[in-house]
């Protein structure tokens, strides 16, 4: 199937390789240490979750990894190669796609156009012209629409969407670029429970097809349900890391900011 071919290195689940790595990454704003010395590695075909309360530096870490936020210290590696000096726009071409914490859709563009934006970087000259003449839509776009179930709102403007739907459109836009690594910043914020389950199911399905993901969330149940591995952060620092159930049971994690009731989430 073309999807797995495009995503390249179809992973052998027995032997995952590290696709993305951070070494001692720090982002400081003056005296504020938003991220302070995070080591992290993301393996092919896995979902790594970054867990932590608001303000713990999760989104800043994501910004640092996607080079939208300048590093104060540390290194970021993609396929073992330092990309700390690569222009941020090149990262998308190298297969990294992301969503943001807030809805960031272009307000004057219908949903379809917003999703197409994700696929545009993969278009060759011929398909660009073809779109002008015949308004054709790349297969990756139709696939992303199908996956996220936004087929019935393609004609609407982002302002006319419910919050949950807007978030799904954002995921569709990220998927439309057929990324190798997908980074999601609180993808289910503002969604109701069925919608959350739907998104969690989608992410797991994508994982099974070989899509590597980095998921930032503070919905612990969603993280436990979805991720292969969790990294817990607090105040910019690494608190715990490991299997989701172990991390949420970790006394440091629980007592610092989750509360004991999450034992139940881990047991399920």
């Amino acid at each position: 199937m073309t999807t797995t071919e495009r995503r390249g290195t179809a992973p052998d689940p027995a032997a995952p390789t590290t696709v993305l790595q951070t070494i001692d990454v720090a982002v400081h704003y003056g005296g504020i240490k938003a991220v302070d010395g995070i080591d992290m590695s993301l393996e092919t075909g896995r979902i790594l979750g970054i867990l932590g309360p608001n303000g713990s530096g999760k989104s800043t870490l994501l910004g640092a990894i996607t080079r939208l936020v300048p590093l104060t210290r540390g290194r970021v590696l993609l396929d073992g190669e330092d990309y700390g000096r690569t222009p941020p726009a090149r990262l998308a071409h190298r297969g990294i796609a992301r969503t943001f914490q807030t809805v960031r859709l272009l307000p004057d563009l219908p949903v379809l156009g917003n999703i197409q934006l994700g696929a545009d970087l993969r278009l060759d000259r011929a398909s660009r012209w073809r779109e002008l003449v015949r308004r054709s839509v790349p297969e990756s776009v139709t696939e992303a629409i199908e996956r996220t179930g936004v087929g019935d709102v393609l004609d609407l403007l982002p302002g006319e969407l419910s919050y949950g739907t807007a978030r799904r459109v954002e995921i569709a836009r990220a998927l439309a670029s057929r990324p190798r690594v997908l980074m999601l910043d609180e993808p289910t914020a503002g969604m109701n429970q069925p919608e959350r389950l739907e998104v969690a199911g989608l992410l797991r399905k994508l994982r099974d097809e070989g899509l590597t993901q980095l998921l930032v969330e503070h919905d612990v149940q969603m993280m436990v349900d979805t991720c292969d591995r969790l990294l817990a952060m607090n105040q910019g620092k690494h608190v715990a890391e490991g299997a989701p159930a172990d991390v949420v049971r970790d006394p440091a994690v629980q007592e610092a900011y989750l509360g004991k009731r999450w034992n139940r989430a881990a047991d399920q």
Partner: protein, 318 residues
Amino acid sequence: MNTWWLSNQILIQSTFISLLLALSIQVPLRAGVFSFAGIGSYAIGAYTAAILTIRYQVPGIVAIGAGVLLAAAIGYLLALLVARLSGLYLGMATISFALFLGVLATNGGDLTGGATGLFGAISTVTTEHVIAATVVVVVLLAASERGAFGRKVDAVREDPQLAVSLGVDVIRVRRVVFVVSGALGACAGGMNSLLRTTVSPETIGFHLVVTALTMIIVGGALSWAGAAIGAVIFTWLPTVLQSVGEWQLLVYGLLVAIAAVYVPNGLLGLLQTGWRRLRRRGRRIPAEGAAAPTGVVVQEDPESELAALGGPTTEARP
């Protein structure tokens, strides 16, 4: 028709030249770049074309082309110079670029003819040439507003950081915008000089900034069509308003104020919103019974599966 055409030659020419000038501001604005460099480029084009025709007897079209190339090159250098500026600061910097060129023209001695300017730039450039050039420009710009390139520019304007995360080289888009703006401004300036056979510091002054901005604000900044609406209104309004005499300026001011406050996307924005509503109303009635896909425009395209997609997803949702 023929008599109308002949008796309104000057206004027709002005309409198209104003449109090119307005486009030289609209193109950067569409990419979120608040630059008036197009006005400075108008001066470059106007003087280059006049100097080349008067002093070197260069054919008119070549003279205009030389001005366009020169202004495009200067536009690129200017983009490098002001790369770190944005918003009002960029606006001010580019206005001062235009004013600086005005001073240069006034003090240019024999080359620019000083404060009186240059006369006798006789050429074979005609109204038809102006219209042809404008049509070519408009077709290219209209194409650039659609498809992948249009989306790219929209993303750069609305959310540069998002654009970067989608793989758009924002800095490069901004440079291209400066080059295009320079070329458009110079084209307008060169044609104006050769059609009027004269250029002076007065014709390249600050009033051009106001004229171009007015056209875009009232017409609409997000498309070439907005600039066209503005160019037509503000070129022909003085003729229509002859009867009110000195009150003309008041009418201008009111129009701009009303547009800025109540119609932020200009007359074009009003038309587009109206059109969207009409289309949607027309569609809603048949769509209710049938599980028809909601107006995806790609149905006849064999590559697209969207038409098939709309059905199942509509049904699947409660």
